[in-house]
């Protein structure tokens, strides 16, 4: 694994970011209660305990998306990853967790690895995930049954694989946005933000 070598290569960076997304999406699903808490199991990652789903269908879906995302990260063709939470009764989008990706295109496959320690990157990832957990305090409650979807913003000229289709951006009508922390592997920079539907009481 390129991670164990000193320095970050493009492939290693893609894997780190994909891993972060996998755990981050699981955390969001657990924290927002999209799936019942008993379908999650505790694992240790980034020196903290995180929740990972045990639902087979959901796991399958996530691995499909993340593996495809890893390829695109390697090609530096992906711009954003969005977790859209929709209310099933009204078909309204209630929350949007958006992760902007800035890829340093000068880091090609064969170039020298960048000097940044895995520990520092993991520290940054840990603070991002902690912040995601902390945002639950001010986000409005999701009282109705909700479902989630993963959208990926890519370059226009990218070839859409099978089983993928184009969709709208699924924006929130009257939203409040909060910018969260970001982390960088010196090749990929991930900016996080969350947008939620403004409740009438606020």
């Amino acid at each position: 694994m390129s991670k164990t070598l000193k320095g970050i290569t493009l492939k290693g960076s893609a894997e780190l970011v994909a891993e972060f997304f996998s755990f981050g999406i699981n955390s969001i699903l657990y924290q927002r209660g999209i799936y019942p808490a008993e379908t999650f199991t505790r694992v240790t990652q980034y020196d903290m305990s995180l929740q990972l789903t045990t639902d087979a269908k959901l796991k399958n879906y996530l691995t499909n998306v993340i593996s495809q995302l890893k390829e695109w990260l390697f090609d530096c063709t992906v711009q954003k990853l969005v977790v859209v939470i929709t209310c099933l009764e009204t078909n309204e989008v209630l929350e949007r967790w958006q992760f902007d990706l800035e890829c340093d295109k000068t880091a090609k496959e064969g170039s020298a690895p960048r000097e940044k320690s895995i520990k520092a990157i993991q520290e940054e990832i840990r603070s991002v995930i902690r912040q995601i957990t902390a945002t639950v305090t001010f986000l409005p409650l999701l009282e109705t049954a909700c479902a989630f979807d993963l959208l990926i913003y890519t370059d226009k000229d990218l070839e859409v694989p099978e089983q993928w289709e184009e969709s709208g951006p699924q924006l929130i009508d009257q939203s409040e946005e909060v910018r969260l922390r970001s982390f960088t592997t010196t090749i990929h920079k991930v900016n996080s933000m969350v947008a939620y539907k403004r409740t009438n009481s606020t």
Binding site: N64, T154, E166, S167, G168, I172
Partner: protein, 695 residues
């Protein structure tokens, strides 16, 4: 010794050999003179040779002999030495032995000497002992003598003592007699003691008897108490028994009552069971009713939702018709929105371009403005200069005129002076003219200075005017420029604000998830959880609708009051006949209730009217426990008496009202003194009646 013998033999042999040798020599010598001289010489030489040889031999033999002798000597020496050594050894050994013997002898001598000494010592000691013994003996002798003396004394003493002993014996005898008498006394006392003891025993026995009797007495007392208690109890028991007898007499009646009650109990239990069954049935029916009602409500809700959804759908479809665009799906709407946004972007770009062109034009204008200003300033300056120069010219002309005038004057003076040179009286005229000239000079000088000051002032003023004009120009230009700057700054601020707003909008757009459709596109998996959940929802909704339809059909069937339903539904509805029976019962019960209510009302009304007519008072219950009485003959509608019931016995108290204040006399008389309410009330009616008939 053998060596000596050997030596001797060796000597003897040597001797013999020598003798032999000497003989032949002689023989040789003797035998050889017969030969001639040559023979003699030869013989001589031979003899010499022989002699030499003999000498040699002799020497050799001598040598040998010597050596032999030497060896023998050596041998003998050795032997002698050996013998000597042996002798020496033996002698040494003898010496040593002697020495040892000597030593031993010496030792013996010493020992003997020591023994001697010891013996001497012992002797001495014995001597001493002897002496000591002798001394002892003498001492003992002395002692013996002394002892003898003592013995003699002792004998004397013994005799004395014997006397004493006799005396003592006598005393002893006396004592013994005393002793015996005392013994007798003792015996007497002991007999008394015995008697006393017997008495003591008697007394103790009596005491014990007393104690036993005491204990028996206490026991008997206790027994008495117990017996008394028992007596009391028995008396109580007898009393109770008497009571019991009376109660027992009631027994048969009680038994009868018990039987009756038991029968009633069984009957009530049966009815209770029936009641509970009926209640359960009614509750079941009620719950079913509630469920049906809920189903109806849910059906209504679903219908409402359906209508809402239809409305929304129509609204969405109408958007297409209302906006006049070819819109069928939300994607078209989004597309239209995107197009509008693009148009907006284009317009904005045009706007920017126009703004930029405006700015460039204004920049050119502003650049030209100062040039214009400069040119204007220059023109004005030149005008000013020209004016100044004109004024200068005028001044100079004036000066020239003045100077010409002065010159003319001076010339006239000079001519006068020249003309006056010929004359004689010139000095006063000269003086006068000099004075005049001086005056003129001074005047001219003052005029000059004044003119010069005026000139300078004028120049200053001109300069100041110039400056002021320039300043004014500059001011105007400054003002103009400042206005321009302010306008530009305000424009800049506005543009900055617009820029910030646009940036914020962009940021917001980005945060909300907007994107540039030219460079990016949004994709997702077809089989994603949201679409799956939506599908499930629609399926659920359809299922619910189907269920609703089924429930509606069932309801209709139930309301129609049909027979058994053949649908395989999950609701367990009991046979409709029971429902009908129960409904009929309910209706009948309700009807009964209603009739009873009507009857009660009628009766109450009749009763109240009767009371009103007969007693003359209308009694209303306004508040709990308060009765308001209104008289038939009341003058006003509000005149009423209030009574309050106190206690369950039925006692009433009059409460204060306006009307009752007017009747204080009657109140005092009938209520306080006579304490009768009916009398009071009748008095009040009489009073009111009398009032009415009079008025």
């Amino acid at each position: 010794m053998d060596d000596m013998e050997d030596d001797t033999t060796i000597f003897s042999t040597l001797k013999s050999f020598k003798s032999l040798i000497s003989c032949p020599d002689r023989s040789l010598l003797e035998t050889e003179p017969a030969f001639g001289r040559s023979g003699l010489q030869n013989l001589y030489t031979k003899r010499v040779e022989l002699e030499e040889a003999a000498e040699r031999v002799r020497s050799h033999t001598n040598l040998l002999q010597l050596t032999q002798e030497k060896q023998q000597m050596e041998l003998s020496h050795k032997r002698a030495r050996i013998e000597l050594e042996k002798e020496a050894n033996s002698s040494s050994r003898d010496l040593q032995r002697e020495i040892d013997r000597n030593r031993e002898l010496l030792l013996q001598i010493r020992r003997l000497e020591e023994r001697e000494e010891k013996a001497n010592q012992a002797l001495n000691e014995q001597m001493e002992n002897n002496k000591a013994l002798k001394r002892n003996f003498e001492e003992l002798h002395k002692k013996a003598n002394e002892k003898d003396s003592k013995l003699a004394e002792a004998d004397q003493m013994i005799s004395e003592l014997k006397d004493e002993t006799r005396r003592l014996n006598q005393q002893i005898q006396i004592q013994e007699s005393k002793f015996s008498t005392q013994n007798l006394e003792i015996q007497a006392l002991q007999e008394q003691l015995d008697v006393q003891r017997k008495k003591f025993q008697d007394v103790s026995q009596r005491y014990q008897n007393l104690q036993t009797s005491h204990s028996t007495s206490t026991e008997s007392e206790l027994k008495i108490k117990e017996l008394e208690r028992r007596l009391a109890l028995q008396e109580q028991d007898s009393v109770i028994v008497k009571n019991m007898k009376s109660e027992v007499a009631r027994l048969p009646e009680l038994e009868r009552e018990i039987k009756r009650l038991r029968e009633e109990n069984t009957f009530l239990r049966e009815t209770k069971e029936n009641n509970s069954l009926l209640r359960e049935e009614t509750e079941g029916l009620r719950r079913k009713l509630e469920r049906m009602e809920r189903a109806m409500e849910e059906k209504l809700k679903v219908e409402l939702e359906k209508e809402k959804l239809e409305h929304e759908l129509q609204a969405w479809e109408n958007i297409g018709q209302s906006t006049g665009l070819n819109i069928r799906k939300p994607e078209d709407l989004s597309r239209e929105v995107i197009q509008i946004q693009q148009r907006e972007l284009n317009l904005k770009q045009q706007n920017y371009t126009l703004n930029s062109s405006i700015r460039s034009v204004e920049k050119a204008r502003t650049e030209l403005m100062p040039e214009i200003a400069q040119l204007r300033a220059k023109a004005q300056e030149e005008q000013k200069k020209r004016e100044n120069q004109d004024s200068l010219v005028r001044r100079l002309q004036k000066r020239v005129l003045l100077l010409t005038k002065e010159r003319d004057g001076m010339r006239a003076i000079l001519e006068s002076y020249d003309s006056e040179l010929a004359t004689s009286e010139y000095s006063p005229q000269l003086m006068l003219r000099v004075k005049e000239a001086e005056d003129m000079l001074q005047k001219v000088q003052t005029h000059n200075t004044e003119m010069e000051t005026q000139l300078s002032k004028a120049q200053e003023e001109a300069g100041s005017f110039k400056l002021q004009a320039q300043m004014k120009l500059h001011c105007i230009v400054f003002v103009f420029l400042r206005q321009k700057i302010e306008e530009l700054e305000s424009e800049r601020q506005q543009l900055e604000e617009q820029n910030n707003i646009l940036e914020m909008r962009l940021e917001r757009h980005n945060l909300q998830g907007g994107y540039d459709p030219v460079t990016t596109k949004v994709i997702h998996l077809q089989m994603n959880p949201t679409s799956i959940a939506k599908q499930q929802r629609t399926e659920e909704v359809e299922q619910l609708r189907v269920e609703c339809q089924r429930l509606r059909d069932r309801l209709r069937k139930i309301e129609a009051g049909g027979g058994m339903t053949t649908d395989d539904t999950t609701l367990i509805i009991p046979p409709s006949q029971e429902i009908l029976d129960l409904r009929k019962q309910m209706e009948s019960a309700e009807l009964k209730n209603q009739r009873l209510k009507e009857v009660f009302q009628k009766k109450i009304q009749e009763f109240r009217t009767a009371c009103y007519v007969l007693t003359g008072y209308q009694i209303d219950i306004t508040v709990e426990n308060q009765y308001r009485l209104t008289s038939v003959y009341a003058e006003h509608m509000e005149d009423s008496l209030l009574f309050k019931s106190t206690g369950p016995v039925g006692s009433m108290q009059l409460l204060e009202t306006d009307f009752s204040r007017t009747l204080t006399g009657l109140v005092d008389l009938h209520l306080f003194h006579q304490k009768s309410i009916p009398v009071f009330l009748s008095a009040v009616t009489i009073e009111l009646f009398s009032r009415q008939t009079v008025t």
